[in-house]
Symmetry: C2
DNA sequence: TATTGTTATACTCTATAACTATA
DNA sequence: TATAGTTATAGAGTATAACAATA
């Protein structure tokens, strides 16, 4: 729509990029009748089931906020709370089959859209770009 | 905290990066007693005052959602609605002095934190990285 | 008629504080 | 005492639909 007519710093470019990704994510979530937060929760769970505490850290949410979020997706049959045998206070949040299908579909939609936006990068270029991001992720807590 | 032990695609790297930026942004906003959405609104307004319709497109918000957001920051004295002389239906949203100071402070905090995370990139590397992002922004609506 | 913005309404999302149950 | 999770409460964020005023 509009051309970026300004010079951007790396930091500014990352902020703009982040907004773009958020919108891609939100659109994909919406296409699957999920909110962005619900889609994010499901996507994180594809990496494996975890307890509420770990999930809260991954999503940067207070435990009470997470309780509500999990309640809503559980009510929709996308996740289930399972008892943790080793600690009767805790529970593990697991994707249901339907939740997993939705998560994967959402993930693929986001990936496809982003790859289309990135366009054709050479393998060396891709590797380099990913390495920069990984370094940031490692140092950023 | 944890090392990314997986191979990431460019798309996945961008999604993770986006979450990192969002958290940096949210933390900076919080330090200035703003919500992330409020900080984002103020930052966009530093590029110039606009009407509600344009602002909604920039932030990807429905106009009614924006009305509420603007109401809340206006109530806090950070922006003001000014009449548009050329169209009596419309209004322009302007930063107040305090709003502008907050926006700049927030922007600087985010920039500083991100630049620290990116680390030292050569000028050619930076330019290249920014050019990839700009290309995405241009093609992404 | 179309557009700009607000209002009404109903959710979702989020944090803080207080709580229960288990470790 | 400390930790895992929930409940209660209050406010912020969001969308849809209906509306007013102006173009």
């Amino acid at each position: 729509m509009t051309t970026i007519g300004e010079d951007l710093t790396v930091a500014e470019a990352f902020v703009r990029l982040s907004h773009l990704v958020q919108h891609v994510f939100a659109d994909a979530a919406r296409d699957h009748e999920l909110t962005q937060q619900q889609a994010q929760l499901l996507c994180v769970l594809t990496r494996g089931s975890t307890g509420m505490t770990d999930l809260g850290k991954l999503l940067h949410l207070e435990k009470s906020s997470l309780t509500g979020l999990v309640d809503r997706v559980e009510r929709r049959g996308l996740v289930a709370r399972a008892r943790d045998d080793r600690d009767r206070r805790a529970c593990r949040i697991e994707l249901t089959d339907r939740g997993e299908r939705l998560a994967l579909a959402c993930h693929e939609a986001v990936t496809a859209r982003l790859e289309k936006l990135v366009g054709e990068l050479g393998p060396a270029e891709s590797t380099h770009l990913v390495s920069i991001v990984v370094r940031m992720l490692d140092s950023g807590s």
